[in-house]
Amino acid sequence: MKLQALHLTNVRKFTHKRASITGIGPGITVVSEANEFGKSTFFDAIHALFFEKYGSSAKPVKSLQPYAGGAVEVAAEIETPQGAFLVEKRFLLRKTARVVRLSDQATIAQDDEAERWISTLLGEAGDGPAGLLWVRQGLLGLEPEGSKEKALLTETRRDLLSSVAGEIDVMTGGRRMDRVMRRLAEDLGEIATKTGRKSGAWKVAADEVATLEVELARLTAQVETLEGALAERKAAETTLARLEDPEARGRRDAALHAAQAAMETARAHAGLVTAARQDRDIAALQTKNAKVELDGFLTAIDKLNTAETAARATAETRRLADAEVTALKATSDVAKESGIAALNAVIQARARLESARRQTDARKAKAEAVRLTAQIVKAQEAQTQRDAARARMKASPATTEWLSRVDAAASDASMRESAHQAQSTILSVVYSGATRIALNGAPVVGEQPVALEGEAHLDLPGIGQMTIRAQAQAADGMDQLAKAKSLLNDLLAVCGAETLLSARSAAAERAEFARQADLAQAVLDTLAPDGIDALIAAKAEATLAAAEAHDEPLAVIADLENGLDQAVADEDRTAQTLRRMAADHALARETAIKAGAVADAAATELDRARSAAGADERRETRRIELLRIDAQTADTLSNAETTLNRLIASAPDLATTKAELQRAADAVEAASRQRAQVAERLAALSAQIRTLAGNGIEERRDEINGQMETALATEARFSRKAGALIRLQAALEAERNAAQETYFGPVQEELKPLLAILHRDAALSFDSENLLPSGLTRGQTEEMIDNLSGGTKEQIAILTRLAFARLFARQGRHMPIVLDDALVYSDDDRIIKMFTALTRVAHDQQIIVFSCRQLAFQDLGGARPMVEITDT
C-alpha cells in the first residue's frame, strides 16, 4: 500500500475546512511546514483512518474533533497491487466508512465491510506493520521519558510488538509459552532454586536423608559395637572354658612342680659350690697372709739394721747443733746490754735538748708579753684619738654636700647678680688723679663698678653734675635674685658662716676632723688588726708561756742537738749488731730443732724396727716357723681349688632350671591372670551388651533403615522431577531463543547496512522479552539504549523502523513509513546521514516525513506535495 493523497475535513484546527495533501510520491515525501501547521493532525488522522473503527468514539477519535464539534472526516487515496482506492471514514456523527475504487469511482465496501477491507489490507494482527513503522511526534526513542510520554510510548511499543505479534507468538509460543513457563517455574520453584539447588520439599527430603544417614551411621556403629561385644563375649566364654579345663590345669601344675624340684636340686648343688668356693677363698687368704707375714719379718730385720745406723748419725748432728745455739745465745746477750745502754744515752740527750728548747720559748714569750703591753697602750691611744675626731666631725654640719649646695647657691646668686648687673646701668670709674666723683652724694670708689638705678646724680668735681636715668629692671629677675641670695644666706646660716669663704673654711675644718679620724683608725688597724681584745688575749697567753722562764745560764741548743745525733747513731749501730746476732741465733735454733726431729724420727724408727723384728733371742725361731706356715697354706689352697673345680664341672645349669621354673610358674600365673581378666571382661561385656541391647538399637537401626529407604526414594523422586523440569525448561528456552533468533535474523540483516551509514561496525542487540533494541555495540563496547544520547536513540528508532519496513516489503507487504518530526535531537551531520539512509530505503519504500525544520530538511530531497486548505 502506498499513500497518494490525504484529505481531512473538520479535523481539529481545520474546523469547517478541508485540508488536503496531494502529490505524495512513491519514495520520500517531505511535508515541511512550520509549527502549528497541523502535521501531527494529519498523522493522527490517518492513524485513526486505518486503526480506529468508524463507529469508535475512543479517545484517539475524540481528539480529532474540533472545539466546534461536528463530524470528523478522514480520507486517503491509496495505491495497492489491486489498483487505486479512496478509503474514507466519518467519525462521531453520521458515522460511516467507505472504500471507493478510483478507477471507476465505485464503492466497493462500506461500513463494516470497509473495515474488513482495511483489515485485510493491513494484515491480520492488530495495528499491523503501520504500528511498527509510524512514529508520532516526540516519541522517537524506544524508552519512556516522562509519565505521559511513557504511557504513549508504551502504547507505541505495544503497537510495534503487535505489528508482528501473530508471527512471534507462533514462533515463540507466545502467551501460551509464557503460561507454560510460568507453571514450570512454579513447579520447579517448589523444589529447587533458580540455580537448580534443592529447596522446599526436595531440600526437606535431602535434609532428612542427611539426618537419617547420620543417625543410621551412629546406630550402625552401636550395633557393630554390640555385635562385636556379643562375639567377644562368646569368644571370652570359650577362652574361659578352656582356661578352666581341669586337664589343662593339671598339666600346668605338674610342670610347675617338676620345675620346682629341679630348682631345689640345682640350688643345693649351688650351695656346695658356694661352700667350696668359700674354702678356696679362705685357703687363698691364709696363703697370702703367711707369705705376707714371712715377707714382713724379713723386711723388719733389714729395716732394723738401717734404723740403728741412722739413729746414731742423727744423734751426733743434733748435739753439734745444740752447741752452736748455746754459743750464739751468749754473744747475743752481750749485744743486748750494749743496745740498752745506747738507747738510754739517746733518751737523756733528747731530754736535755727538749728542756733547753722550752726555756728558750719561755723567754721569747716573756719578751712578747712586754711588747704586747706597749702595743696595747698605743692602740688604746689611737682609738681615743679616732673617737674624738669622729665626735668633732659629727658635730660640724659643713659637709661636702652642704658645701656643694652653698657653692651652687652662690653660683646661682652670682649668675643672677651678674644678669642683674648686665641689665643695669653700670658706672665704672678709673681715676687717674685724686679727684673723686660722688654719686648721689657718696663718693664713687675707683675701679669698682656701681649699678645705677633710677635717676642718679653724679657730682663731677670740676665739671659739674651729671644726671643719669637708668633703665628700669624687670621685677621677675629681681625676685629671683633675691631668692637666690636668700637661699645662699640660709645655707650659710646652717654653719654660722657669713660668707662663702667662711663656709669653705668650716667645710675644710670638718674635712680635717675626718682625716684625723681616718688616720687614727689606720693606726689602730695596724696595731690591733684583730682588735684590742685580741692583743690583750695574746698578751695573757704570752704571759702564761713565760711562766717557766728563769734567769739561769742556758746551754747551747746546737751543742745539745749534736750530742743527741751522736747518741742516736750509737744506738743504731748497737741495734744493727743485735739484729744480726738474733738472726744467727734463730737460724742455729732452727737447725738444732730440725736435727732433733730427725734424730727423734730415727729413734722412733729404730724402736719400730726393733718391735717388728721382735726380741733378739727369738728372731731365728720365728723365721723358721714362718717358712713352715707358708708351705702348709700353699698345699691347702691347691686342694681347695681342685675341689671347687670338680663341683663346678658337675653343677646343673641353674639359669636353665630357673627359666624352666619361671616358664612353668608363668604359665600357671598367666592362666590364672587370664582367667581373672576374661571373667572381668565378660562382666564388662555383659554390662555393655545389656546397656546397648536395652536401648533397642537394632530395632531403631532397622526403623531408620526403613525411613532412610523411604527418604531416599522421596529424594530420588524429587531429584528426577527437578531434573525433568530443568530439562523441560532448558528445552523450552532453547526453542524460544531459537525462534527469537529466527525472528530477529532478517531484521538484523536489514538493519545492518542502514546502521553502518551512521556507525561503522555497529550492531544492535535485541531484548528477547520486549523484542526491542536493547543495546548498541560499537567496537568492543556495548551500550544500553537507555544510556545513549537522544540523537542516537531517535536515529536507532528510525533505522529500526526502516529495517522492519524493508522486511515487510520483502514479504510483499508494502506499507508507508510515516515520521512526524522524527529527527529532533540529531546534529546536522547525522541528519544528512539519516537522509542517506532514508533515501536508500526509499528506493522501494514509501516514506512520508513531516517536519517543522524547513531549512534542515531542504537537503533531503524527495517529493514536496501540495498542501491545500479550503473552506467547506
Binding site: T172, L226, A693, E699, K721, A724, A731
Partner: protein, 338 residues
C-alpha cells in the same frame, strides 16, 4: 499376640508354635521382650512354644537370656535341636537356627531322632531346597520332603512371610501381620489339627492381619483405556482406609492417557491409608495428535518434539531418556492447562 491367642481360644487350640523370627533382631529392647512375654502370660489358656529363627537365632544369647528370664510358665523356649514332648504322645522336633545364615540343613537330625511311638511334629525355619529364596536368601536349606522322610505328621515352617503350603503336611504359616508388598496373600495363622498318628493334618488358614498391603501393577498398552484399568485395580472404597496401596505403572501409553491417569491417581490417593504410584516404568507413545495437543508449531511444539525424540533415543542413557519423558509429560500437563 492377642489375635493369635484369641484365635487359639476360639478354635480350642492348646499350643501356639512360633517357627522363628518372633523377634526381628537379636537384641530387641527389653521392653519389647517383656511386653511379648506379658501378652503370652495373659493368654494362659494356651502354651506358647518359641523357637529361634534366623533373625533371633539361638546364639542371640542376650535375647534368649532375657526371654528365659521373663518367660511365664506357659512359654517354652526351644534353643537346642532336641525332642520336646508337647503333650503325652506328641513330640516336637525343633530345628532352631544357631546363627543368621547356618548354610546347612538343620532338620537333618529329625530322621534319626528317637521318639518312640509318639506323634512327631517338626518345626523349622528357612527355605526349602526348591524354594528360590528365603526372605533373606538361603538362611537354611530344608528338603522339600523332610516331613515324609522324617516321619512327621506335620512340619511347620517359618521364614517366608507369606502363607504357603509346600505339601499337605508342610506349610509356611506366614507372618500374622504383613510388613511389605512382597506377598499377595492375606496375613494369617494356620490352625493345624491332627486327629491321630498317621492321620493327615487338617490345616485351616485363619486371617490375622488388620492392615492390607496391596501392590497393583498396571501394565498398559497404547490402546488400553488407562482410566478404566485403573478403576479395576482399585480396592473397594470401604477397604481403602486400611490399605497401603502401591501401583507401579508399566507398559506404554499416549501422553494424554498418561496425564489423565496421573490425574486419576491424584484424585483417589486420599482414599487410602497410604498411596503411591510409580510411572517411571511407563513408556510414552508420541504421535502427531499428542504433540498437537501441545501446539501445532512454534517453540512449544519444537520443544515437545525434541523431548519426544530424546525420550525414544535408545543411544542415550536411561536416566536421560527418563528425564526427557517426564519432562514431556510435564509439558503435556502445562500445555493442557495453558
Amino acid at each position: 499376640m492377642n489375635k493369635l491367642a484369641a484365635l487359639a481360644k476360639e478354635n480350642a487350640a492348646s499350643h501356639i508354635l512360633l517357627a522363628g523370627d518372633t523377634f526381628d533382631q537379636t537384641t530387641p529392647a527389653p521392653t519389647v521382650i517383656r511386653q511379648a512375654m506379658n501378652a503370652m502370660r495373659a493368654a494362659e489358656h494356651v502354651v506358647w512354644i518359641l523357637m529361634p529363627g534366623n533373625h533371633d537365632h539361638a546364639n542371640a544369647t542376650e535375647l534368649w537370656r532375657q526371654v528365659v528370664q521373663d518367660a511365664p510358665e506357659n512359654v517354652v523356649v526351644l534353643l537346642k535341636p532336641a525332642p520336646h514332648e508337647i503333650v503325652k504322645g506328641a513330640v516336637l522336633l525343633p530345628a532352631p537356627p544357631s546363627e543368621r545364615h547356618p548354610g546347612r540343613d538343620l532338620t537333618d537330625w529329625f530322621e534319626g531322632a528317637g521318639t518312640g511311638d509318639a506323634l512327631r511334629i517338626g518345626l523349622a525355619h528357612g527355605s526349602v531346597t526348591d524354594f528360590d529364596s528365603s526372605e533373606e536368601g538361603g538362611s537354611s536349606i530344608i528338603p522339600i520332603d523332610r516331613a515324609r522322610r522324617a516321619g512327621l505328621a506335620y512340619l511347620g515352617l517359618g521364614d517366608w512371610h507369606g502363607q504357603m503350603p509346600i505339601g499337605t503336611d508342610t506349610w509356611y504359616s506366614g507372618a500374622p501381620e504383613a510388613d511389605g508388598f512382597k506377598h499377595a496373600t492375606t496375613p494369617a495363622a494356620l490352625l493345624v489339627e491332627i486327629l491321630s498318628a498317621g492321620a493327615p493334618a487338617k490345616v485351616t488358614s485363619l486371617p490375622t492381619g488388620s492392615i492390607t498391603w496391596q501392590r497393583a501393577r498396571l501394565d498398559l498398552t497404547e490402546d488400553d483405556d488407562a482410566a478404566a484399568l485403573h478403576d479395576r485395580v482399585l480396592p473397594p472404597l470401604a477397604a481403602r482406609a486400611l490399605t497401603l496401596f502401591d501401583m507401579p505403572v508399566t507398559g506404554r501409553a499416549h501422553a494424554l492417557a498418561r496425564v489423565a491417569l496421573e490425574q486419576a491417581t491424584v484424585n483417589v490417593a486420599p482414599d487410602f491409608l497410604w498411596h503411591r504410584t510409580d510411572f517411571s516404568g511407563l513408556g510414552m507413545v508420541h504421535d502427531t495428535d499428542d504433540l498437537d495437543a501441545i501446539d501445532h508449531r512454534g517453540a512449544l511444539r519444537a520443544a515437545a518434539e525434541t523431548l519426544a525424540t530424546e525420550a525414544s533415543d535408545t543411544r542415550l542413557a536411561p536416566e536421560v531418556r527418563e528425564a526427557a519423558q517426564v519432562a514431556l509429560s510435564h509439558l503435556f500437563s502445562y500445555a493442557l492447562e495453558a
